[in-house]
Amino acid sequence: MSQATQTSTRRDVLGTSALRPDGVAKVTGQFEFSSDLHAEHMLWGATLRSPHPYARIVNIDLSAAYKISGVEAIITAEDVPGKKTYGLISSDQPVFADQVVRYMGEPIAAVAADHPETCRRALAAIKVDYEILQPVTDAEVALLPNTMPMHPDGNLIRHQRIIAGDQNLQGEVIVEGVYEIGMQDQAFLGLEAALALPDPGGAGVEMWVATQWLHEDRKQIAACLGLPETKVRLTLGGVGGAFGAREDISLQVHCALLALRTSRPIKMQYGREESFFGHVHRHPAKIYIRHHATRTGVLQRIEAKMYFDGGAYASTSSAVLINGVTHIQGPYKCANATVDGYAVRTNNPPCGAMRGFGVVQACYAHESQMDKLAAACNLSPVEIRLINAMQTGDKLITGQVVESVAPVARCIRETDAIAMPAPLAKNADPLELVGGTGLTSLPENIVRGVGWGVSIKNLMYSESFDDFAVARCRLSDGVATLKYATVEVGQGFVVLAPQIARTILGVDEVVLDTVDTGIGSAGSTSASRQTWMSGGAVDGACRLVRQKLFEHVGAKFDIDPMRLVVEDTDIVDMIGDFRISVVEASTGVVIDETFEHHHRPTEELDADGQGNCHVAFAFVAHRAVVDVDVELGLVKVIQIATAQDVGRVLNPVAALGQIEGGIAQGLGLAIMEEIVLDNGKMRNPSFTDYLLPTALDAPKVVAVMIEEPEPQAPLGAKGIGEPPCISVTPAIAAAIRNATGKELPRVPIRPQDICL
């Protein structure tokens, strides 16, 4: 046994690999995830869901279910006291289906009972009569004039075009393609779970929930309950991963309604199958695209038509669409563009946020095109990308000037400089071959391929949305206490925030207060934004406290506070020889400051897709090396080399963890992961049939972090969560193309796409 190593020999300031404060609890099984919560006299809640993608509800008969001993309440659409619908951008999704179901898995009723098994039996006893309708499951078909709208808001969620420059330019070289991206699931491990405690008399409710954004949840829950927001108090329950899937409401309103109805605590948690139905997914997309270039490979114009299948309800589809159309040029200079994007309603499962948020789809198309262009111009994948690499000061097709640090060429060059993996040894262990433990591949059928992907990703929210973050810092007796509503989903804000406080204030001891709605919003843990936004808020609050501390010390010792600085754990006079430890200086005083960080304002796009709609951008390059069994269609990703524009590394181990984790998810989309839909019905809602990368599928990742501090960012650091998963998918696809010579216009690439 070794000693717990939560103490460090050096100070855990910014730039060090400080250890997670939740690490010990997590490795010992003591960390309280929201699925671990209990309350006395608690009941279990469960949801009845539609087995049909599209149907009219003719009748719901609850009588048999109510006869089951242990069932305490059953609620349906008519029991929703407030707003009957919710949604992140437009409120178009019913709390419970009312008269019509629009996707397989749509909630119809919820029960509260004494045991999960009683819930299961009650759900089975609810009799629903449906009139089954013909689902519309193709986004392009849904937009045809003779297709009936399936929702009062119509089938078009949003259309956005981008018109830039010369609309008639024809390049000396023209390449085109039609690319498709399948529906990916976030597949966080910690299933949806919440515990709701009703206030006496139903005056309000207190909830512990695994979410990405407490304040947005509260707003939507309160509206549906018909309660003022102050009567709905949310505390973060431990979150087992999110990746976008917890940005929308799932079980929150149902759980709160059951608690108010029964006047008892309600615990709800989804099983894995229900989770597949209970949260939004990555949008499947179809992209028609044409690139015009000079004979020497200089990109001149992009034409694209992009269809994002939003499923039955809007969720964040309109924002995903904007990300898709505005990133379709990739990290490349391009003056002229004609782009039409459509976010469309179908009877497929609703789609919304997932890591990469619309840019994943665009990147698969533009990177596939860049390789076609390279081939047409007789250039290498690296050459075509370097020729066109965007720089700071370049104008995007939206007219927005890239003010962010934009080391695109450097990302490509530094990735290219990473050593290639050794060739497959003749005497390699069979487990190292494609197919691994299946022992299926013959070495003579294995072909190695190399492919490239480079991407641009916006950071924070766009189109005039002010996603601010609030943090509060209290300093007393050498201890800093931080309070914020920033959701920790695993990304590591829980370690970053104390690093910031130690750096700014010179304290060693930092206490993290409960994450709840008892302070202003921190915005969502999404869009690679929390290091920048909540990091900026914590930084700001700590700076205010430090200023007050300087004033206190200055008054006490008769020194101009302007002369004081924090040096390690001391306050020192820059001019004289005065020195006092921060612990001593703050003994007996209480300094408490709150700071609200806003990013610079952005604009909405106009009808031609022009406007400064994004805050900032981050860039990354990926090179994939794969082994392909061309007979069996099996792929093993051997190595991913990557150089990522991170601005500044604040915690090297945590940053590497984001990069490696994102790469694994991008690998999943490239060759493994897809929600299979058959006329609107989900065919693989389980971990047996939805394949996730395992330890045996993980490639060797060689990562370089490019540190060019971002002047706009409060800590100089860019968000790093999303870029790793974006261009790795097209890089792997390109490597498989390189090995097989096939076009492979669709991801995930399946064995039959390679070998048949």
Binding site: M1, V27, D36
Partner: protein, 163 residues
């Protein structure tokens, strides 16, 4: 919930626990978490695919979601809760923290149990043996790189402690 009035007992981490008023269909995972106050094993797939619920039963690493609790009455069950002693974490637990093997942490208890089990059987595993041993434990956050580092570090620390 109508239940039988039979009482059965389980031996978990060396202690005998009586399970009463339980529905006989409850999985070992459910009973550990909901009845015995041992929430360290996590449920994430209910199909034995993800390994989050890994416990040791009679010396074998097992997905507790696939075991009926009532069938485990004659077995020795070990959960993640028993690993760390008063004097500190195990080398594996320690390495998970120092090497960045923990992000959201939901897969962590199952992985820690699976790796302890591996190293107790095979103190010096090859890279392939490590990958093989934990390929039944899905992690969605880390991409496994930091977890491999954690195992490598734990192997070295254990080796140093033996010498």
């Amino acid at each position: 919930m109508s239940v039988g009035n039979e009482i059965y007992s389980l031996t978990v981490n060396g202690e005998h626990h009586q399970v009463k008023d339980a529905w006989i269909g409850e999985s070992l995972l459910y009973v550990l978490r909901e009845r015995l106050g041992l929430p360290g094993a996590k449920g994430a797939c209910e199909q034995g695919e993800c390994g989050s619920c890994t416990v040791i039963i009679d010396g074998e690493a097992v997905c507790s979601c696939l075991v009926m609790a009532a069938t485990a009455i004659d077995s020795e069950i070990t959960t993640v809760e028993s690993l760390a002693k008063k004097n500190g974490l195990t080398e594996v637990q320690d390495a998970f923290i120092t090497e960045g093997g923990v992000q959201c942490g939901f897969c962590t208890p199952g992985l820690v149990v699976a790796i302890e089990h591996l190293l107790n059987k095979n103190p010096d595993p090859s890279e392939l043996e490590i990958k093989e041993a934990i390929s039944g434990n899905i992690c969605r956050c880390t991409g496994y790189g930091r977890i491999f580092e954690a195992v490598t570090t734990a192997v070295a620390t254990r080796k140093a402690a033996r010498n």
